[in-house]
């Protein structure tokens, strides 16, 4: 492995990068605006930050230039892959088994108190995003319709359950399908006006739609109770048996000692089941005419129309089905939190879900799941890094840097692997033999 550049040239370029970093750092890093006693803004000078930023960029750039190899361009037909085929085939099965065992292992290992955080913050949280990612994958990855307002359907699902249960006392098990139906009809409603739009325009209209939904939820106080949100939403029941310490509760019925963890474990299996349903439905749909029509639409809309595929129905079903799964996930979110307000449904959520889909490699179910683990799990891990406090002082709060690193990770991952973590695709339709193709051969976000 030879260095890709001579050391002197690397030094010179790194020096330039360091200078630029110093220039970028100049006002925003070196002069901090602080409030003084009389609420006036005063400047705090911290010139050392500039030196640190410049030095970090210099060293980083130098190391990259001097020692990193130029990425070899993979031939487009082979399909560059991170995982070997055997591993890629075994991973999903092993993953599902591991997920089924996960709460039990955690409970056995850490006890009811210690495992709560792991099952809830990591297990349930990541699985929600896996499900949302798979749902959005239908719209973006399969049908090639770029949707930046996906969180609107998540919100529709969450508010459907929240409102129906608090006003009419309907149980979660009735509201879950209703929330899916509701979100699906909203998906179709959004689908109608945007049928003619393509690519980036479609992205912006869906973004505007998401913003309109969140603005209405914030301002229409009579309907949604505005910013304050809807509180004390009924909690999940075990098909009618509440998770409480009463004698008709879940624990007493099954002769167990009452513990709060039971509900969390049940929620975990519920979201796991919902996510797996999303996955299986997507896989089956890909083999049906409608799924094939989605992928054909993604590849070439004009060819689709010439072959007699009804593009209106094809687009609408993609929007509606993708939205339906977001609706399921939304009502799950509401029953898990017991509280919803518009802050949970901002553009950031849509961007996160889309990032998971794209970083996973659009159209790849396994990739989406892996990306959800990396992005959501990774940001959760940052909350844990309390040892950094010992290095940087007690005022250092690692969770402040969560979104900062999240944004940076999106940029870096795109540059490193624009086609996502899993960049090979299994064709749904093939002639005589199934061959993996590179993601680079697949059209995406065509509109």
């Amino acid at each position: 492995m030879s260095p890709s550049m001579s050391i002197t040239r690397a030094l010179r370029e790194a020096g330039f990068a360091g200078l630029v970093a110093a220039g970028l750092a100049f006002p925003i890093l070196t002069l901090g605006t602080e409030m003084d006693q009389s609420n006036r803004l005063v400047l705090e000078q911290r010139w050392s930050w500039m030196a640190i930023a410049a030095a970090l960029v210099f060293v980083g750039r130098f190391l990259v230039l001097a020692f990193a190899r130029k990425p070899a361009r993979a031939a487009p037909h082979t399909g560059a892959r991170v995982l070997s085929p055997a591993l890629a085939a075994a991973l999903p099965r092993a993953g599902v088994i591991a997920l089924f065992l996960f709460p039990m292992v955690m409970l056995f290992w850490l006890g009811p108190q210690g495992s709560l955080k792991w099952i809830n913050n990591y297990g349930v949280q990541i699985l929600i995003y896996v499900m949302l990612g798979w749902g959005l994958n239908i719209v973006v990855g399969l049908a090639g319709l770029l949707d930046l307002g996906y969180v609107a359907f998540y919100a529709v699902g969450a508010y459907t359950y929240a409102l129906l249960s608090t006003h009419f006392g309907l149980s979660f098990w009735i509201c879950l399908p209703l929330a899916g139906l509701m979100a699906a009809s909203w998906g179709a409603m959004l689908g109608f006006p945007v049928l003619r739009l393509r690519g980036d325009y479609l992205a912006i209209v869906t973004l505007a739609f998401g913003e309109i939904v969140s603005a209405v939820l914030t301002n229409w106080t009579d309907f949604s109770n505005g910013k304050a949100g809807i509180m004390s939403i009924p909690r999940i029941t075990f098909f009618g048996l509440p998770f409480n310490a009463n004698e008709n509760g879940f624990a007493a019925t099954f002769g167990l000692e009452f513990q709060a963890i039971h509900r969390t474990i049940f929620l975990f299996y519920l979201i796991l089941a919902l996510a797996l349903i999303t996955h299986v439905v997507t896989l089956r749909l890909r083999a049906l005419p409608v799924g094939r029509a989605w992928e054909a639409l993604r590849e070439d809309e004009i060819a689709c129309r010439s072959l007699g595929i009804n593009t209106v129905n094809t687009k609408l079903t993609a929007f509606a089905l993708g939205a339906m799964f977001a609706g399921f996930a939304g009502s799950f979110f509401a029953v898990r939190q017991g509280f919803v307000n518009p802050d949970s449904f901002t553009f950031m959520e849509s961007a996160t879900i889309l990032a998971i889909v794209v970083l996973g490699g659009m159209g790849s179910q396994l990739g989406v799941a892996l990306a959800a683990v990396v992005m959501v799990g990774g940001t959760e891990v940052l909350r844990e890094l309390t040892f950094l406090k010992q290095i940087f002082g007690s005022s250092f709060d690692p969770s402040l840097y969560r979104m900062l690193l999240f944004g940076l990770a999106m940029v870096v991952m795109m540059i490193w692997r624009p086609r996502g973590l899993i960049s090979s695709r299994e064709p749904s339709v093939f002639l005589s033999q199934k061959k993996n193709v590179s993601g680079a051969l697949v059209q995406e976000g065509h509109g």
Binding site: V20, G23, L24, F26, P27, I28, L29, L31, G32, T33, E34, M35, L41, V42, L43, W49, L146, P193, V194, R196, L197, R198, G199, D200, Y201, A203, I204, V205, A208, F209, E211, I212, A215, V216, T218, N219, I302, A303, M348, A351, L354, A355, V358, M362, L400, Y401, M403, L404, F406, G407, L408, A409, M410, V411, M414, I415, P418, R419, E444, G445
Partner: protein, 305 residues
């Protein structure tokens, strides 16, 4: 009548700011066909830079002439924001040129998240109140239900915007750089074959876009008197709406679209409900795209097999 006149003045002021941001969107979209999602946050960053330079000038260096301070703040903010946008293009977008079309969009969304949180981390999450400046007002009418006022700030905003737009128009229409820029917009490959340095032209497009956004940021900071790290998103989306309304890729369209969005938003707040002013702006976007996808002055997109 007084109300109408007052809202007209306010609307044009707001529209001037949107128009300046919208040019950045429309230029970048015209030349590389990408929605530069981070542009709104570049605008927010420029407002912070302007605020810091202003504080440094008045508190550390002790300059007292407000006109001089404003001029220096404007020039510094333009230069430093241009440097930022140049670096962003170089790091986050250039490696993805020629990649599939979603890649730069995702990279730009990541950049937008990064910039907002970067400013939050280094400058703190609280609202930053800006010391008031140019507080004088002119009474346009008097004796009616209330006096219609035109503040010096508003005159300054419209004046600065007008002068810069003229300079910008000259740059694009009459100079070699502008010709190269327009050539790249029409056909990048052909322009490269004819000896136009495409990479350099794209860099310059980002620099010009950022400089105009910095003007908007400085004026915004001065006009509203408060800046926050999350201020980039909504003005950014509205400016993009303005660019689309005017016809994306069209520079006069961006300015007209900006003015229209500013007026619609102001009149909506005045006559209907200020809660739903964002909904009004976004609905305009949706309606425009559905019924007039190429905007007011845009060229229709031809779809070829």
């Amino acid at each position: 009548m007084e109300n109408f006149l007052q809202q007209l003045i306010n609307g044009v002021t707001l529209g001037a700011i949107y128009g300046l941001i919208a040019i950045g969107y429309t230029m970048v979209f015209g030349i590389i066909g990408m929605v530069n999602f981070a542009h709104g946050d570049v605008f927010m960053l420029s407002a912070f830079i302007a605020l810091i330079i202003y504080l440094a000038m008045t508190q550390i260096l002790g300059v007292t002439s407000l006109g001089l301070v404003f001029l220096i703040v404007l020039v510094c903010a333009m230069a430093l924001t241009a440097l930022w946008n140049w670096a962003i293009e170089r790091v986050a977008y250039r490696p993805l040129r020629g990649s599939f079309r979603l890649a730069p969009l995702i990279s730009a969304i990541g950049m937008s998240i990064f910039l907002a949180n970067f400013v939050q981390v280094v400058q703190g999450p609280r609202n930053k109140p800006v010391p008031p400046m140019f507080t004088d007002v002119i009474h346009v009418t008097s004796g009616g239900a209330f006096d219609v006022t035109l503040s010096y700030k508003q005159i300054l905003i419209v004046g600065v915007t007008g002068v810069l737009l003229l300079a910008f128009w000259y740059l694009v229409q009459k100079t070699a750089l502008g010709r190269a820029q327009r050539a790249c917009e029409q056909d990048r490959t052909m322009a490269a074959l004819l000896g136009v340095d495409v990479d350099r032209t794209i860099s310059l497009t980002f620099i010009i876009g950022a400089a105009l956004a910095a003007v908007a940021g400085t004026l915004y900071m001065m006009y509203y008197g408060v800046v926050n790290f999350s201020d980039g998103f909504t003005p950014g989306v509205k400016a993009f709406t303005a660019a689309v309304l005017g016809g994306i890729g069209s520079l006069p369209g961006a300015v007209i679209g900006g003015l229209l969005i500013g007026l619609i938003e102001t009149f909506w707040s005045a006559y209907f409900s200020s809660d739903y002013k964002d909904v009004a702006a976004f609905s305009i976007l949706v309606i425009t795209l559905i019924f007039m996808p190429s905007g007011l002055l845009g060229r229709p997109e031809v779809e070829k097999v």
